[in-house]
Amino acid sequence: MLKPSLFSLRQALFGLSVVLIALLDPFGIASSTDDASSRWLNRLLAATYADKGQQQVVVVLIDDDYLLRNDTYWPLPYNEQSKLFKRLLAYEPAAVFVDLLYSHDHSREIPGQPPRMESQLLANVFERYRQQDIPLYLADTGLPRASEGAVNTLPRLAEVSTPALVSWSDFGNQYPLAVKTPLGTLETPALRLYRDYCRHQACTDLPADPASAAELAPMTVQWGVYRSPEQEKVADVSTCDIPGLFEQLKQAVFWKLGKQARATCAYTLTLSPTDLEVTDPDDRKLLESLLRGKLVLVGAQIAGTGDLTQSALHGKIPGVYWHAMALDNLINWGMNYYRATPSLADLGIPAGSVDVLDILELLLLGGITLLKGSLDAPLFTRALFIQRRRPRLRPLAAWALVLAAIVLLSCGLWYYNYTPANVLGLLLLSLTLFSARIQALFANRA
């Protein structure tokens, strides 16, 4: 009877444990290095990000400075919002998304007026958008208001607007185009606005309806770094800092020693609500050039409201910029936006969240292990009584081969608009495996 040798069993167990560690990702270590790889590659490629989307997208940001300057408060009173939105309407944007959740009516009591009248004033302004054929999307949670604990847009505001989903789960840090909700399949703001962009532009492969959009892979939003050249016409940009490529790399390696190398000002052209109040004809003409026919997103950055998102380049910024950047990605790449590689479950193989890239990385890992084995093996082997010379690589050449494989894999993924491989994880692993041989090489040379 043939008995497997202890050595081969040990090897099989080792191989199996490596496979399990790679696929199951215990403690999320591989996911962390995956995220870090993705973030750093976005940082390195951000300088080459095209500005086609930037020319179409504008954010109007209500911030604490605005509240203080106007001696008002948060939530912004409806009459102030009415003025803001009717001023914006006058500049005739192509479409507007409002990243404010109108879930609780905070109308003030006005003597001589029926109760809850202030929110009706805002609804009156929103209705004027519809009359002028300017799509207006309000943030929507996708939950029915009647259900327990659920909040959503006030009915009188929902009647005069279109919902855009802003709340979802199970997508990690990716941006879905549409999601199935208790209220039906709802599209997210980026796709809603992109459809409006496509009313005047030729767009290919646009999903026919929300249901088909929900079938598409979610987007891994890529961030640009250079702010809009129009920004300095309306704001003081003297404090804006854009780190160069070298600075980014330096910070990537020595992040513990220095301060963060991040772009301090938003990529998307940003206006203050006060900008919309300008009265000088020349100033209004300038605003018109910035807003007419553009896709406008209205959001807020108020301390204590918590709507922040993580940008690979800007740190934590208001959530409205995530929608703006997702829209920007859609304008730049259409439906060929960056996405994670499909999971095996997407291909009909029941394997949880294990994706194709995990398998590719595992193959690469196998290749690295083989190379390592070839470095450790004796130069000559005796098989069938014939002495045979093994092909043998030098340690540095073997490591260069690994690097080339990683670069090739990354380039292939980048070419097909997939998020990068776990470059950092693979590099670290290959360095660890080859370090002894490389050290020995240098010791021999010395």
Binding site: L61, Y73, Q131, T270, V278, Q301, G304
Partner: protein
């Protein structure tokens, strides 16, 4: 007597010269202007070419930022963004405020904003 009369007369004349003129709509800024009710709800659109030149501004609702204009068919409310009023109702220049920067990656604010004044009981 003549001197004091002249002084009084000159004062009266200078007062009338210096008094703020009544605001009028100097120009219609849109081809089509919305006619609103007093709550800012749009009632209909009118072609600005059919509107009279320099109608008087009768009222200014600062809360809604709309004006009441005297037209031959009656007094109607209009959005201030659709007209140029002389003298201007207010003057606002670009604030050119410093662009807000993002927070660092590890920024935390473990609080929730309190009620606004509208929620005071």
């Amino acid at each position: 007597m003549i001197k004091s009369s002249l002084l009084l007369l000159s004062l009266l004349v200078s007062q009338s010269v210096m008094a703020t003129p009544e605001p009028v709509v100097e120009a219609w800024l849109r081809k089509s202007v919305a006619v609103l009710d007093d709550q800012g709800k749009s009632l209909r659109q009118v072609d600005s070419s059919s509107l009279p030149k320099a109608p008087k501004v009768l009222q200014y609702n600062k809360e809604l930022d709309i004006i009441q204009v005297g037209l031959p068919e009656g007094n109607v409310w209009m959005d201030t963004m659709a007209v140029r009023v002389n003298p201007p109702l207010n003057i606002v220049k670009f604030p050119c405020q410093t662009l807000q920067s993002g927070y660092s990656d590890d920024h935390q604010n473990n609080s929730t904003i309190g009620y606004g004044a509208g929620c005071k009981k």
